[in-house]
């Protein structure tokens, strides 16, 4: 038992919690102090407090990671989310697999950001860090794991809890209090994916960065510096927009690669809960930029920046309090934190709203109304559209919350979120996306060109014409005939062309300002990419044989799926497609091993090489034990067209604990479309195979014969002295034959055994899985130098696949990258601006 490390971790948790309060208090005093020496004194205290706090947060991270990586399974966290076989990078994802870990991750980013703020911004340090420290105190309370004496209220859930304390009812601990499990429960196989190593930290960095503009905004209200908070907050808002957007898209990309619903976005409450704040954040960025240029929309900026952070807290509440339990496919475990989360949400909502109401009258606003021909007007309309777009998603996602509130007031409500969530959200969001596309085209245009009615016509004609021509080409070539998709395409192309025009003129004059144009080009491409890849995704694995796969399957299944037998090519999507057999994945090396080449052991994760095998430069000797990922089976499927060859390895996880088959796709990427393939039915490993009647032949050494129409040759027959699973005495004899079978795709070997043990004859046949042959050595005839071989054949191995074409999905991914690049350019511009002001001593 390693008690020390857990106690140390717990000490760090408590230290971080207390120092967060101390820091908040000190910075609060520093903000309100008027005497310079007193201010300096409290500032110093606050800074020290935050450094101690940051150090203890780091301490929490290190201790938790040590517990995980050293496999201290006496701790609940290590036992529940990891096991001995996980490689280091998945031990890292174990860290944030539990809710406690993700709170720690969030605190970690806040600590890092806090230190950056302390060092970059002397003027705002005190008020901003007061809010930072308060937020940290609330987050710290989530992992406190302390029971209030007397009240019996538990605050927080500690990641450093021992397994025996977490599972007090388990009988093993009553008998053996010091029991330490040999191995852990392991990480959910679906999460053993490289995206799950980088997606959560990115997303939480996105969450954390929304705190910075929020804190600057509240600090501005607090100090009555209503105008000045925008400049330091803007680069952070841009950074946050980029990182949060990237985090969301990474999650979508993970879903696309790993889950099998055939898309990247499912409109699940969990996804919506981060999508909404991101939209509002983008709206806030727009109003802040407008304010920086023309001193309008300051009040809107205040509202939106506050709304973003409150929505982040709300999304945390939604996803972690268990309130979505009946509404989301993600089954959340309720840690009993819902009360704490609610207080956290309400506290900051209340403080922010109260402060803004209190100061509302003092916030300056523009006297004159914006003209329709002004850029401010159009950007403001754009921001409103984004807000409504978010509102439309927020309303139905919150239905479980409405139900709770109605119940609280004594009513009953049986409202449930829309059943067909993808169709439901898409039908609304599509039109918002059209509006966003159109507005970002027009808005950018107004932004850069001072314009009136006449000028407008002149300037607009050329780009509109180009956009229309491009639009006609895309619609015709892409065969887009659905009205709503046509409009969406138009919006996407319109914003793309308009912004491209702006970009070209800016590149000549001032490339540093081109961030907005670049980002909007990205948005245009994303709209087009989403339209094609989601709207025109189609099933290509159509059953064109005219035969049903099975009468027991549904009509749809028989139509949309393709049955492939090993080594029997079919055609699909203009390719020859051929199934080559089941493959296993070595745990510590790349590549795939043919299942035929190894024999299984009692341990699912270990197999023994039957022969010498070479896979991707790794050579395995016969009898070598190979560590594999036992839960995964891959199905090698080859696509051929002309001289080109491409191999797909869709995966199935046959996992009895999880109740069956979990399939993940493999994706064949071409420039114009992705071919998204997953298995939809597989042979059951446990099922008894239907063997043909035994065929007996007599052959000599080196003689060729046919087995299931494959050419086979008896290479050797040798006496062996060890047979797996059989005890041989001196009087016993065992003989092993080695037969080479020439398959369509390479050679296979079968090694049946003939033995005489205690004067009884025994035969151990050997099976070539991929080819459906079982060969036994039936008898030896020394007088004629012949051997009797028995051959059984069966139906060849098969797999049923479903494949979908996702046209132009690359346009979406490229658009995403361009959007991120746009954010980067805009951010570096604002940072330059901020530095300049700082050098002038204005910050």
């Amino acid at each position: 038992m390693h008690y020390f490390i857990g106690d140390l971790g717990h000490l760090f948790v408590i230290t971080s919690f207390i120092t967060a309060f101390v820091t908040a208090f000190a910075y609060f005093k520093a903000t309100n102090a008027t005497a310079l020496d007193l201010k300096e004194y409290w500032l110093q205290n606050g800074k020290t407090g935050f450094y101690v706090h940051a150090a203890s947060v780091l301490g929490i991270c290190v201790t938790l990671f040590v517990i995980i990586s050293k496999h201290y399974f006496e701790y609940h966290y290590a036992y529940n989310y990891s096991d001995l076989k996980l490689p280091t990078y998945y031990l890292i994802s174990t860290f944030w697999n539990g809710q406690e870990g993700s709170f720690i991750l969030w605190m970690f980013w806040h600590a890092v950001l806090g230190i950056i703020v302390i060092h970059t911004n002397k003027f705002w340090e005190a008020p901003v860090m007061t809010i930072f420290a308060l937020v940290q105190a609330f987050l710290g309370s989530m992992i406190l794991g302390v029971v209030l004496p007397g009240l019996d209220i538990k605050i927080g859930s500690s990641p450093f809890i021992l397994l025996r304390d977490a599972m007090q009812g388990a009988p093993i601990f009553a008998a053996q209090p010091d029991f330490v499990p040999k191995d852990g429960n392991g990480l959910n196989p679906l999460l053993q994916n490289y995206w799950m190593v980088i997606h959560p930290p990115t997303l939480f960095l996105g969450f954390a960065t929304t705190l910075v503009p929020f804190s600057f905004c509240l600090a501005g209200l607090w100090l009555r510096k209503y105008k000045d908070w925008v400049r330091p907050a803007l680069p952070w808002a841009l950074f946050s927009g980029a990182i949060l957007g990237l985090g969301i898209l990474m999650g979508g990309y993970w879903a696309y690669e790993t889950l099998n619903f055939g898309g990247y976005w499912n409109w699940d409450p969990v996804e919506n809960a981060v999508y909404v704040p991101w939209l509002i954040l983008i709206a806030a960025i727009h109003t802040m930029v407008t304010y920086k240029n023309s001193e309008t929309a300051l009040k809107a900026s205040v509202i939106l920046v506050i709304a973003v952070f409150v929505l982040i807290l709300y999304s945390t509440f939604l996803t972690r309090s268990g309130v979505l339990g009946d509404a989301s496919v993600h089954s959340f475990t309720d840690l009993g934190l819902s009360g704490q989360l609610l207080i956290y949400l309400l506290f900051f909502t209340f403080v922010a709203i109260a402060l803004s109401i209190y100061r509302w009258k003092e916030i300056p606003s523009a006297e004159k109304e914006a003209s329709i021909y002004s850029r401010e007007f159009w950007i403001f309309i754009g921001a409103i559209t984004l807000c409504l777009m978010g509102f439309q998603v927020l309303m139905p996602t919150s239905i479980p919350v409405w139900n709770k509130i109605i119940t609280l007031f004594g009513g009953t409500s049986n409202l449930a979120p829309p059943a067909e969530q993808i169709t439901y959200y898409s039908k609304f969001q599509l039109w918002f996306a059209v509006a966003v596309g159109m507005l970002s085209g027009v808005g950018q245009f107004f932004w850069w060109i001072k314009i009136d009615k006449d000028r407008l016509k002149k300037e607009l004609t050329a780009p509109v014409l180009i956009a229309l021509v491009l639009f006609a080409i895309v619609i015709t070539l892409g065969q887009v005939y659905t009205f709503s998709y046509i409009v969406l395409t138009l919006a996407g192309i319109f914003t793309l062309v308009m912004n491209a025009k702006i970009l070209f003129s800016l590149l000549k004059s001032s490339p540093g300002l081109s961030g907005g144009a670049i980002a909007h080009i990205g948005i245009g491409m994303m709209l087009i990419g989403v339209m094609f890849s989601a709207g025109y995704s189609k099933v290509v694995s159509l059953n064109n044989t005219g035969m049903l796969i099975s009468k027991e399957f549904s009509e749809d299944f028989n139509r949309d799926n393709l049955l492939l037998f090993v080594n029997e090519p079919r055609t699909m999507w203009g390719y020859d497609i051929e199934y080559l057999g089941e493959r296993l994945e070595p745990r510590y090396h790349s590549g795939f091993i043919r299942k035929s080449d190894v024999s299984e052991t009692d341990d699912r994760d270990r197999v023994i090489a039957k022969f010498d095998i070479a896979v991707n430069k790794t050579a395995y000797k016969a009898k070598d034990t190979i560590d594999i990922r036992g839960e995964n089976t891959f199905y090698e499927i080859q696509l051929r067209k002309g001289n080109r060859k491409y191999t797909l390895f869709p995966r199935a996880q046959i996992n009895p604990d999880m109740g069956g088959l979990l399939v993940s796709p493999d994706i064949y990427r071409t420039v114009s479309a992705d071919l998204y393939t997953h298995v939809s039915s597989v042979m059951k490993p446990s099922e008894d195979k239907d063997w043909s009647e035994l065929e007996e032949i007599k052959i000599k050494l080196g003689q060729e014969f046919f087995a299931n129409d494959y050419v086979a040759i008896l290479q050797s027959v040798d006496r062996v002295f060890e047979v797996d699973g059989v005890q041989l005495s001196d009087a016993d004899v065992a003989v092993k034959a080695r037969i080479r079978v020439q398959g369509e795709q390479g050679e296979y070997f079968a090694e049946p055994i003939f033995l005489i043990k205690d004067k009884m004859v025994g035969r151990i046949p050997d099976e070539v899985l991929d080819l459906g042959i079982r060969i036994s050595l039936l008898n030896i005839h020394p007088e004629t130098n012949e051997f009797s071989m028995g051959i059984n054949t069966r139906q060849k191995d098969w797999v049923v696949i479903k494949a979908m074409e996702k046209p132009y999905i690359n346009v979406l991914w490229i658009g995403t990258l361009i959007l991120m690049a746009g954010f980067g350019v805009a951010m570096s511009r604002r940072i330059r601006e901020f530095r300049k002001m700082k050098e002038k001593g204005l910050e």
Binding site: A170, D326, I399, F553, G660
Partner: protein
């Protein structure tokens, strides 16, 4: 009327439209009996039913059958009113299905069979899990 006023009115109208459409498109939580009544009266809208898996007196789950294609299955669910119903699902069993303490099925009746298009699970809090593999 000033432009800003028009704008405010438009935004309010849009917000109300969104709220109304949310209420209109929302599904409902009902029992199997009501769902069957809705279905026979021609309302094929998908609904949510909350319930538990059928268990024998020893607490073992009974009534789960694997479909012919191995990637579909059916099970018996008892809704909150106590009515048992066989539910068909065209996908493999979700992870943790048998451990769930509460099941939500989203779908509709096809004649006498309930076809689920989605299954949501409520799993026991991890601190309640008392089984440990020694």
């Amino acid at each position: 009327m000033k432009k800003s006023h028009i704008l405010v009115l438009v935004v309010i109208a849009a917000a109300i439209a969104i709220i109304v459409s949310t209420a209109g498109d929302a599904s409902t939580y009902v029992g199997f009996e009501e769902a069957l009544a809705m279905s026979t009266s021609g309302n094929k809208k998908e609904i949510h039913v909350v319930g538990e898996l059928k268990k024998d007196e020893n607490g073992h789950i009974i009534g789960i059958e694997e479909g012919a294609d191995k990637v579909s299955f059916s099970f018996i669910m008892i809704d909150d009113n106590g009515k048992a119903q066989k539910v068909f699902y065209d996908e493999p069993m979700p992870s943790d299905f048998t451990r769930s303490e509460k099941v939500v099925v989203i779908g509709s009746y096809e004649n006498e069979d309930f076809k689920a298009s989605k299954i949501l699970l409520k799993c026991p809090s991890k601190y309640q899990e008392q089984k440990i593999n020694v």
